[in-house]
């Protein structure tokens, strides 16, 4: 049996429209999504009406601080919402619900976006729906790729999790024991003073394409979990030796050629992504699945996608699903989509219950819209 998604439909209206607001990190995203009545399927897809994003970019060598990021979101949120509504060709009164990121994320940016959400909800007299950021990524990934019941690798600036669905919850099988993969890459980019425009991870990816020599780095997988802080400390140490006051020259043992910054990026990516693919494969084997879905900002890395593909090819009927940067990187449309699924199963938040939280585990969400 499937869940009835139209119990809360407005009489006489053949569709739903949701506005999604996302601002858990340095991206401010606003999206408008449309669902027609009935189950979502290959013939009844969710329709993206608009998907606008504005990223707060800091100078090379600096990360984004919560206070400054929140100010960026406050300054831009009205303009981005207006742009999204114009692009979607809708008015506030066409909307069924306002969805916002309730967590996890950075406190101050989350707060500034939820204030906008609450204001709109009262202005247009609409219900609010709080969305778990991770569930947003998963649901959008499933909708875009058509993956039915995949093992999800969620890799972004603040999260590294291997997730699989079971009994109406997205359960976490493996995750990082210390820092997140994106955080690890961003911090290394800062050490090397790699620009943050368009994204530090993207620039590392481009540099890694030019790298040839593999530098020895630790490899730390613990069951389905992994640890990355030791690797970061190690590679940062190497970078400081090479580009700091000591100006030490490192050479590749086999070829005798000097090690470059590109080689460091290459080695870091190879080792981190090998670990990610390995824990994903462990989870796949553990739950007897054969589908993988990669979501989150780091998921748009082509090398990671390529490695995952090579892994899944060696498994029976293995299939890989990945999305491009529009849906991988934080965006408003995923919040709108997951929020609308919640709304269609009667999950809305009263005003008093719209407080954001920095800590909101993926498995805390009751997935009412699935019952397989």
């Amino acid at each position: 049996m499937t869940v009835d998604l139209d119990k809360y439909a407005k009489p006489g209206k053949g569709y739903y429209i949701a506005l999604g607001l996302e601002g858990s990190a340095n991206k401010l995203g606003v999206g408008v999504i449309k669902h027609n009545l009935g189950q979502l399927s290959t013939t009844n897809r969710a329709e993206v009406l608009s998907n606008i994003r504005d990223t707060y970019i800091t100078p090379p060598g600096e990360g984004f601080l919560p206070r400054d990021t929140a100010r960026h979101h406050r300054n831009w949120v009205v303009r981005v919402i207006k742009k999204a509504l114009i692009e979607a060709k809708i008015k506030g009164t066409d909307i069924d619900c306002i969805c916002f990121t309730q967590g996890p994320g950075m406190g101050a940016p989350l707060q500034s976006v939820v204030v906008a959400a609450r204001t709109l909800a009262q202005l247009w007299d609409l219900p609010l729906v709080g969305v778990n950021h991770c569930v947003g990524h998963i649901e959008m990934g499933r909708e875009i790729t058509g993956a039915d019941n995949p093992v999800v690798l969620y890799v972004s600036g603040g999260n590294t999790q291997v997730i699989a669905y079971s009994k109406q919850r997205y359960r976490i099988f493996g995750e990082t024991l210390d820092i997140a993969i994106g955080n690890c890459l961003d911090r290394f980019a800062r050490t090397l003073k790699i620009p943050n425009e368009p994204a530090p991870g993207y620039n590392i990816e481009q540099m890694a394409k030019k790298g040839k020599h593999l530098v020895n780095l630790p490899y730390t997988v613990k069951g389905m979990d992994l640890s990355m802080s030791g690797i970061l400390a190690h590679v940062e140490g190497l970078a400081k030796d090479m580009f700091g006051k000591q100006n030490k020259k490192l050479v590749d043992v086999e070829s005798g050629e000097p090690i470059t910054a590109e080689d460091l990026c290459f080695s870091l990516q190879e080792i981190l992504f090998s670990m990610l693919v390995e824990i994903t494969e462990r989870a796949i084997a553990h739950v007897n699945s054969n589908q993988v879905l990669i979501v989150g900002g780091v998921g748009s890395n082509e090398r990671l996608q390529e490695m995952m593909k090579l892994m899944i090819q060696d498994r029976k009927n293995g299939q890989i699903y990945a999305t491009d940067e529009r849906f991988c990187i934080d965006n408003g449309i995923m919040i709108a989509h997951a929020g609308l699924l919640g709304y269609r199963t009667g999950q809305t938040n009263e005003l008093w219950n719209t407080i954001c939280t920095q800590r909101f585990r993926t498995d805390e969400v009751f997935v009412k819209w699935r019952d397989d």
Binding site: G105, S166, K222, G223, M224, S274, R359
Partner: protein, 262 residues
Amino acid sequence: MTDRLVGQVSGYLPNIPLEVVSQGAEALVFKTKVHPYIEKPYLQNNSEYIIKFRPSKPYRHPKIDASITKNRTIGEVKFMAKLSKLGIKAPSVISADYKNGIIWMECLGSELPNGEVSSLKNWLWYLERNESEERCLADDVKLACNKVGELIGKLHMNDMIHGDLTSSNILLQNGEPMLIDFGLSSYSGLPEDKAVDLYVLERAILSTHSVFSDKYNQWLLEGYEAGHKSSEFGKKGNKKLVETIRKLEDVRLRGRKRSMLG
């Protein structure tokens, strides 16, 4: 496809009939009736043997791949040899080829009514799917969990860390549990490492057997405590137990309360 991998292993082991048992995350497991060097070995089950093959992973850089395959195969063989010396239940090693990632070992475990291997995971899943709630929490399940915990306690008392404790890496034979799959094993006396080992198991139970996970985890811990309190370890056992459990609480907190940005 897996055919490629089967082809690879047949290349290393010519003329050995192989039957695929399962494809784990990093290894393929085969069954065979051929023993590499003795006709009548002194093993419980001397008609069938397991061959575990770690194929090279095309996604990894060749250098990383070669070192991981070799290190894990050596690590696993040594760990198993040490376990059999200590008398902790695990399959015995028959032969190994480090470079190609092949281990030949004793075939343990039995078959469940539905034809699957009698791992703790398969057994609990079988009960959950086919039987009542009371059956899932019956005395023999409790006893099995206790025994598993005891086994892990014994392992930790010898400063050995499994590294990948999940319900699929525990085999049951006539109600007696034994450990398998030591690719991520290590040696450490630190409470931290032992606590992480336990935490990994706790989380695996929580995500794989979520309905009754509270009870299962409780029973496992009870067994773990009993393992430390056994007379062979004397007073030292209790001290180590207290340290590890305290650390486990830290590790749990680290997991749940970690701030997750972005």
